[in-house]
Symmetry: C2
């Protein structure tokens, strides 16, 4: 196990009706809120009005930034920063999924930065003070509600970068599984794949005897497999939505990676796909993951894949190690298919036009410390296998 | 899954040499520390001198309370509160195992309370402000380094009570597995049993579909079983000590019980044993646990025991449910025996003298919401079966 410093200070209000705590959660940090949200879904489900009423009741003034898009754009961040300056905002409230929360995070950091917010996306070390952030989650996927990460795109340059600050961890997040009842089948599947990818990126590591972390990772994967399927069949199954929602937070808040490390491979590859083609992040991850697994399976890695097969997919431990590994990879692919995610890049509109440039950009962010270090040629091979 | 409010703000510095952070961890909260510790073990291993040097380097003044005993006594708490008042203490630093940290917690609360500290032990709701607490852990067992619990005894009255406050959670804890290399075989076994009991007390609950929490609990149990044995055989195996240490914190910091509830049964029973006989807590737990399991196994509970048997002890899932359950209970007993813990109360000097009064006191603290509600007669039967 590696040394680590654990610090997850986000307070989580989890469950039905926990929105009642919104006033106390926000007013502990500020009285002039920037409310950040996406399209109309929070209005359709009545959440927008509830939020407005609760903030009003606690005398919290509200400035709105709406229309934040999936794969949030730097332009939205800049607009938010401007609104904060104009309205002397002292707390940022994100209501939505990971894109909205990511955007809110970089706004909160950007307000306190003397320069363009894009600097903070490509240079995390430039992030200084950050306005306090509170979130209300409506999609189980990115884990942004309990971590310090944010991913922002500049589509003009086909750039998509992840940034991080301990101070961008939300002070409090409200997680009511009922808010995810109306999430579409496609987004439920993509969210489940995103959660599973976060887990797999740290599960497949080279740290000896991060035993406890591996068992937790397997527990979360089993949770996603069981309830991902249930949520597809019964979108209003509370227990399924609850288990997925809590899994989304725990998959990436540090619990799995503290002591184990994380050697991300599939996320940097997928970021290029969505930077070039603006596809749904979780769909891209699900398409790439089994092909990445096949590419990195070898004599050195087979034991970890066999462990994955036995402990997550209940494959017979008495089989040959490579047989278990290959069956586990196939089970992963089958699961994604069963929840309705296609298996090929072509089916989401990606051809072979930009594969080489995307492969080069993916490795330029550093994949030489990954579970299996990858070169641009490796990534290109994985892209091609995924076509 | 139940609703919950998650808040685990303790910062953990985990790993070899993390004591180097002591100065920054303490001075963030105060400049006049009460240093609380037990017997001579921290002096023997050189930790005492390291702590003193680091505090001095950061200009933190030190007042000492030493000699805190296992099953810490209210007299130690009172002595600590007095020292705090006399020396205008503004931060409490506990260096030791759970007993030392528990004592430090109630001292930190007692300083801010206008009355006798025992009130805070029996009336948690009277705990108000609490001085900031920092801990350096030397024993993997109670989880006190990352939770808000403290257990204090008044041996004159044979009283042992647990109290709790969110504000008694340490601000920071330093967990260096190497500090547990010198822990005796007996204490290593007792500590492992204590961790496992914390997990089992929440694993056996009546909350439907706290699936994720159950999988985490099983992961921690497997960690204890694997590395409890390794640590007995190789006391200086770093990975074993590291996995046990991190398991001790995660077993009881709320991660397993948030959303699942906890319906404690064996702890309240054991508290009576140690209140009357001052035995080692973890030993008492290990003796009682299999007998409690046998007592509560029935048609309603068998499925959970079968789940335990299959997922933790890898018992063949195709066997009859009761067969699996009984084999799981026997495996639990065998494991405790294998790490050197005796199976009977008589072997730790407990006869049938006080069984009835202890049974009555155990249920008086409320065991009617336990996994299986227990009456004084039930507890008496479990005590007798454990003789």
């Amino acid at each position: 196990m590696n040394n680590f410093v654990y610090s997850i200070p986000t307070k989580i209000y989890f469950g039905k009706g926990q929105i009642s705590h919104l006033g106390e959660a926000v007013s502990e940090y500020g009285s002039r809120a920037l409310l950040v949200y996406g399209g109309g879904s929070i209005k359709k489900m009545g959440l927008y009005q509830t939020v407005i009423d609760l903030l009003q009741k606690d005398h919290i003034s509200v400035t709105e930034l709406f229309g934040v898009e999936p794969n949030p754009k730097i332009e939205s961040v800049r607009a938010g920063v401007k609104l904060c300056h104009e309205n002397d905002i002292n707390v940022v409230l994100a209501v939505g999924g990971g894109s909205v929360i990511d955007c809110a995070k970089v706004i909160a950091a950007g307000v306190c930065y003397d320069g363009d917010a894009w600097d903070l996306v490509i240079h995390p070390e430039k992030i200084g003070r950050v306005l306090p952030i509170v979130s209300v989650l409506t999609l189980s996927a990115t884990g942004s509600e309990m971590d310090g990460n944010a991913v922002i795109s500049d589509m003009k340059k086909n750039d998509k970068f992840g940034t991080f600050s301990q101070d961008m961890k939300p002070k409090a997040s409200i997680l009511d599984p009922e808010y995810t009842y109306s999430v579409s089948k496609k987004q439920t599947a993509a969210g489940t794949a995103d959660i599973m990818s976060h887990i797999l990126e740290t599960y497949f590591n080279n740290t000896p005897e991060a035993f406890l972390q591996s068992r937790f990772a397997e527990g979360l994967l089993k949770t996603c497999i069981k309830y991902g399927m249930t949520a597809m069949e019964s979108p209003k199954n509370y227990e399924a939505r609850a288990n997925l929602m809590w899994a989304s937070s725990l998959a990436i808040n540090g619990l799995l990676s503290y002591g184990a490390g994380a050697a991300w491979s599939v996320h940097p590859m997928e970021h290029e796909l969505s930077a070039f083609y603006d596809i749904t992040h979780g769909i891209g991850l699900a398409i790439l993951t089994p092909n990445w697994m096949k590419h990195v399976l070898n004599e050195n890695t087979v034991d970890k894949f066999a462990e994955y097969g036995v402990n997550v997919w209940s494959i017979d431990a008495n089989l040959n190690r490579f047989e278990i590994a290959e069956e586990a990879i196939q089970s992963t692919r089958d699961f994604f298919n069963e929840i309705g995610i296609p298996s090929t890049l072509r089916s989401v509109g990606i051809g072979d036009d930009n594969l080489e440039i995307m492969a080069k950009k993916a490795v330029s962010k550093g994949m030489d410390h990954a579970f299996v270090p990858l070169t641009a040629d490796d990534v290109l091979a994985i892209f091609k296998a995924s076509l």
